[in-house]
């Protein structure tokens, strides 16, 4: 790998761009594909292009074999992150399950007895007010934000910050009635219908979840549902 290419890759990674690096494993010939644009000496024919698009869509690195060559397609995606506002019981399960699913989890709650390392051994913790905490978190297009505090003082500043970000998923706990009341308050703050439509609430897929753990599963399932492009009616896609 050329040092210049490594520099380009690291800079693109820091800028949270979509990156694939291609390397011919016989010759070492290489190319970088940044946000869909290829740079480098390695020729990309139709077969390799199709494999590249598939690898990018699945966010899965793979070895392409065709036309007498073997090219490794290394997909480097920015980390998936989840900010959870409110450090209650559901949050404990969601933090744990999202961690297993590969999310880098931050739990935000000014109440230090709730957002404690003992209750959240694997998450990052913030005790700032949610709008300040989310500014530090910096939601990007690989981030999800979920509010679970049940307290408008905590949840609404967080939702406002999330709606002003590129977060791919925004979810809010609360009944339909709570959602409707919040919607009116946030409209009064100047948020448009289409902006408010980004909020998934009541949060989670409708699987009849009752217990905190079940609700956490419904939420992570909905986050994955939004994250992964798929053909409707196909169900679980083949790996």
């Amino acid at each position: 790998m050329e040092t210049a290419q490594l520099d380009r890759l690291l800079a693109s990674r820091d800028a949270k761009r979509s990156i694939a690096r291609l390397a011919d494993i016989a010759t070492g010939a290489e190319a970088l594909v940044i946000d869909g644009k290829a740079e480098g000496a390695l020729a990309i024919d139709a077969g390799l292009e199709a494999a590249l698009q598939d690898a990018l869509a699945r966010e899965q690195s793979r070895l392409y074999e065709g036309e007498g060559r073997r090219v490794f397609i290394h997909v480097l995606t920015p980390p998936l992150r989840l900010a959870i506002v409110g450090a209650g019981h559901i949050s404990q399960y969601l933090s744990s399950i999202a961690g297993e699913a590969g999310f880098d989890v931050t739990v935000i709650d000014p109440r230090t007895t709730y957002a404690s390392a003992a209750r959240f051994p694997r998450a990052k913790l913030s005790h700032d007010w949610p709008d300040v905490a989310l500014e530090g978190f910096g939601p990007d297009r690989r981030s999800a934000v979920v509010t679970l505090s049940h307290d408008p003082k905590l949840d609404e500043p967080a939702l406002a910050a999330a709606l002003r970000s590129d977060a791919f998923y925004v979810g809010a706990l609360g009944s339909r009635k709570t959602q409707a009341q919040r919607r009116e308050r946030m409209k009064a703050q100047g948020f448009s219908e289409s902006e408010l439509n980004r909020i998934h609430g009541p949060v989670g897929l409708d699987i009849g979840a009752l217990s905190p753990a079940e609700i956490a599963i419904a939420i992570i399932a909905q986050i994955i549902d939004v994250l992964r492009p798929k053909k409707k009616g196909v169900g679980v896609r083949a790996a």
């Binding site: 790998m1 490594l6 690291l10 390397a23 980390p79 590969g102």
Partner: protein, 111 residues
């Protein structure tokens, strides 16, 4: 399941770059195929310097020594190589890829 967070691994590429800055010879090893119960997924990486220091992982510690040895040669000669480890491979068996998996590891020089 422990801390299996694919994107939270050591910053192998960042370390490789810093080592280059320090004037070290550096090679990068990448898992390109896996079969069976391989311990680390495709795309896992290990950076190796010319003194045999390494960061990252391409297995659960089973084959790293062999990869570091191969990396030394790649750093000296500049030519990439492809390593195969599997249950039928004596060397891998000796160093303990005991899970029954097979992996191919691409080793290339940086710079």
């Amino acid at each position: 399941m422990g801390d299996i967070v694919p994107n939270a691994d050591d910053d192998v590429l960042g370390v490789a770059r810093r080592w280059k800055d320090e004037g070290r010879g550096v090679a990068l090893a990448t898992v390109v195929t896996t079969w069976g119960s391989s311990p680390r997924p495709v795309g896992s990486q290990l950076a190796v310097d010319d003194k045999g220091n390494f960061v990252g992982s391409v297995s659960a510690g089973c084959v790293e020594n062999a990869v570091v040895d191969a990396a030394s040669q790649v750093i000296r000669e500049g030519k990439p190589t492809l390593l195969n480890f599997g249950i039928a491979d004596n060397q891998a068996w000796e160093v303990g890829l005991s899970c029954g998996g097979k992996i191919e590891i691409f080793v290339e020089k940086v710079g």
